[in-house]
Symmetry: C2
Subunit: 540 residues, 2 copies
């Protein structure tokens, strides 16, 4: 199993299905059909197309250890962590493997890499933690002769900390746990905790505009970036750390969201905060989705809000209770408690606070006033701890579900509060219709997990019986339907997963239509005239 | 005097100098030399170069009332409100007047205007409230045959309010008081209150990345913009309102700060807030600039901060007390109160809170704890009201000072907390040296008025004896020196006044150096290939 750690699984650990989970899945999806994943050693990897001359030049620039083209490492870099990526690899298909994997150890090697690749017509796919779920890492050669993955994992240092300004400067390939560990030694934190926390890199967060589970309090990654350096085929873009400015358009915002198509981020300076003295997470039940949405909106529009605010709809609440193994006595206790409060079913909410004791106490008080006014039922800190304990588990559980023949994928969007209901209903309907097979309905759950005063994110999770052998076509049809529903309801193509290849078909309105796409293409042509950087991504 | 309302004065009202102000100025600058401004009716306006055919086409598009080329309106549009602009006009110099002023009444007329101007090789300077202090409105024709001011003041409507999402959509030419009045009728506010509040337009705030006096609480204007529409010579960029997104780079941030060089903003959707139930402003004295800066930093880096937080240095504190007429009994009372607390001189701080009663109470408590820990001396709500009463008065007072032969100008920058001292000292030294004439020193005051967790703005005010007849050369030399000092200390070219022509020489680093400038020029070439939009601004 360990063999497959980065091949067909998230972390090499496949949790057992709890009995309640198994029962629940069979209730919803019918009989489960085990599916054994292929081993990476059996992966079919095409011969490398890397030209010999270019290979020699790259070895000159990076050392022999910096240029790898054995089948295994190439297979490991054949895409990211989307359902489609995983299914393909589970089938032993590494046909999209890059022709080589480059592993620079210093930022100044990157300019050489780009020069060599531009001259030799080799496409470059920047690679951080390898966690893209939107096809952002698929090694597409485009018009070029070959494609390499530029793996930044050896650029993994904390470069500097400025405790007066509360900023820290990092190399791009450092993964979140290492970054947080280095900061914690100085009493600091980024507070950026997406579900991909364990594997994702800081550079990846920059170029995909990540948002973490505590974004309602700590802000999106966009909000943490003060400055960055990006190497392009035409030279370095060096945007110094600045707290606020009116000196022309903020080009940091052009780097953020560029998904490796404009250059390679080599350094980023981020806002840091003191490690919170207190972390308090608690569960609540809203009586209905509508009640819950109203509560979320009120929280977002008042001053004192939680750092983490999550609302699951009825379907996701039911599923997550079952999947986390809340059965037997515990489940009956919860039902009785809710019945006592006149709630059947309901929608799970998590409220999380991080800060000083006084700050947390004050905000909890304010928030509880809003929750009580809307007749939400408290579940206490136990439900909060349980959520915290499981905050990264979805990615592991997905592997187990795939092993059981279940189609499991997520997608996300956002819009303003006034359009949120239409978006919720539209996407749910689209996914349900697309994945219904005969009388067999999929399970489509949804949660809100990122609050803004003006709107919120919607994060959908889909479970369906996988159409064995046709998994990719099955999901692709559903994804198109969801994309169309997002556009129809005025949602954004992605709230925090980025565009990659999955959202190109609907990214137009987010980028201002044809004129915005032209503007972005003009920047691309200027910085990467040969088009070697991550071709086939972001821009339709 | 009324004749000159928008010609050589801010508002047609020239406040009398208080006796204490006159004494103070003579103490600092020596004898005052009255200077009478020219009347607009005496302004020398060159003949219009607007080609006849283009004029006829513009009349077709806008109606006769929409195309004005009389001397008076042209003179009124000959630049903005910088010291250089005012001195030029006070000398009766309208040589830079635009060849015509266009006044569209509907957004869809703007595409026609741009098409006509592009075909006829006419440069277009977008005009909102006319308050640029960085040369952004100077009607430069560049390579073109003529130049027109595109005055957006008739596009002044509140288009829509979405109370659920707490957003409001406006036309660009609406001035802040009208916008706030329309919102107040629905219990809402933008909370954006720069010193130019009374005259500046919302569209102007977008393209110059304005920050208001309450930006520490309400955020910069950047933070309020959810969506916008911009007409370019190549079509419309329509960026829908979105609370948060990871769908590629945020092109709204390309519109913000574009200063009319990429297109004309025709609509903007902004975050609004409930009108605050309570507004409370109070004064404090920090024992020294260093103490005050440390207090500001602590406030910025804790959760509960004021919405308005200002710190004046010793020089500005002394000057503003004298200039606001705080003399005689009141001044002696203040001195006695400070002496009681062991403070001689000291630095004035203003703390302002806007929100619900509970929110204001909570934050005041938290802030007072920090202020008391640093031994700041409370001056009470009287000092706060006095600041509020005078919050827009600087622009009026400047006219009186000009009438008295005083050079008066402001400039501003920002940097991270750790570099703030160097920036403060560097700019102060540069301005002092540049404006010292013999033994006659200028007065250089500074305040912090925009807090970020990672840094702050610095806003300098300079008073010197004007070198009559050579005012522009005198100030230009000082401005170059200040610009050089800003660059040397790692400050931003502008924190909230934008680039215009005044900061082109130092905007490079903010835009990431040559590569960033190239990227921005590529966008410009794409959207405005003929280069008719505000030539000679922003991009060096």
């Amino acid at each position: 199993m360990d063999n497959n750690a980065t091949w067909t699984s998230w972390g090499g650990v496949r949790p057992e299905l709890a009995p309640s989970a198994r029962t629940f899945l069979m209730d919803v999806l019918g009989e489960l059909t085990p599916q054994e994943p292929a081993d990476i050693t059996a992966a079919i990897v095409p011969a490398s197309r890397l030209p010999k001359v270019a290979r020699a030049e790259l070895v000159d620039a990076l050392g022999a250890d910096g240029v790898k083209d054995d089948d295994r490492i190439r297979a490991e870099h054949a895409g990211g962590q989307s359902y489609v990526d995983l299914v393909r690899r589970r089938h032993g298909d590494a046909s999209e493997a890059p022709d080589a994997v480059l592993l620079p150890t210093a930022a100044d090697q990157i300019a050489s890499v780009l020069a060599i690749c531009e001259a030799a017509k080799i496409a470059v796919v920047p690679w951080g933690g390898g966690t893209s779920v939107v096809g952002g890492l698929t090694p597409l050669a485009g018009q070029h002769k070959a494609v390499v993955a530029l793996d930044l994992s050896r650029l993994d240092q904390l470069v500097a900390v400025d405790k007066t300004s509360m900023t820290a400067t990092f190399e791009p390939g450092i993964r979140t746990p290492a970054a947080e560990q280095a900061l914690a030694a100085q009493g600091l934190t980024l507070g950026h905790v997406p579900q991909s926390f364990e594997r994702a890199s800081l550079g990846g967060y920059v170029v995909t505009r990540s948002a973490g589970q505590a974004s309602s309090g700590y802000g999106r990654f966009d909000d943490l970036v003060l400055g960055c350096r990006m190497t392009t085929p035409r030279g370095e873009l060096d945007l110094p750390p600045m707290p606020g400015s009116a000196a022309g358009p903020d080009l940091r915002r052009l780097v953020m969201g560029s998904e490796g198509t404009l250059g390679i981020v080599t350094e980023v300076t981020l806002r840091v905060r003191p490690l919170p003295a207190v972390k308090h997470y608690e569960g609540w039940i809203a009586r209905s989705w509508a009640d819950g949405v109203r509560i979320m909106r009120r929280l977002a529009q008042t001053g004192a809000k939680p750092d983490i605010a999550r609302l699951a709809d009825e379907a996701e609440t039911r599923a997550s209770l079952a999947m986390s193994g809340t059965d037997g006595l515990k489940k009956r206790g919860l039902d009785a408690w809710l019945k006592l409060h006149g709630v059947a079913g309901g929608c799970m909410m998590i409220m999380g606070y991080e800060g000083t004791a006084g700050d947390v106490r004050h905000r909890r008080q304010e928030v509880r006033r809003i929750l009580r006014a809307d007749k939400a039922v408290p579940l206490g800190a136990g439900a909060g701890s349980s959520w915290e304990h499981n905050r990264f588990s979805g990615a592991y559980l997905r592997d187990t579900l795939l092993d059981n023949g279940v189609l499991v994928e997520t997608l996300e969007t956002a819009t303003t509060w006034s359009r949120l209901d239409d978006l919720y209903n539209g996407v749910r309907r689209a996914l349900t219709e697309a994945l219904t097979a005969g009388t067999q309905l999929p399970l489509v759950g949804c949660h809100i997990s990122h609050l803004y005063p003006t709107g919120a994110s919607l994060y959908f999770t889909v479970l369906a019986k996988a159409d064995a052998g046709r998994e990719i076509a099955q999901w692709t049809a559903a994804k198109h339907a969801a994309n169309a529903a997002i556009i129809a309801a005025g949602g954004t193509a992605s709230h925090h997963h980025a565009v990659g290849t999955a959202h190109q078909e609907i990214v137009g309105p987010d980028l201002g239509g044809a004129i915005g796409l032209d503007a972005l293409r003009a920047v691309k042509s200027q910085l990467d005239p040969a088009g070697i950087l991550n071709p086939g991504k972001l821009l339709p």
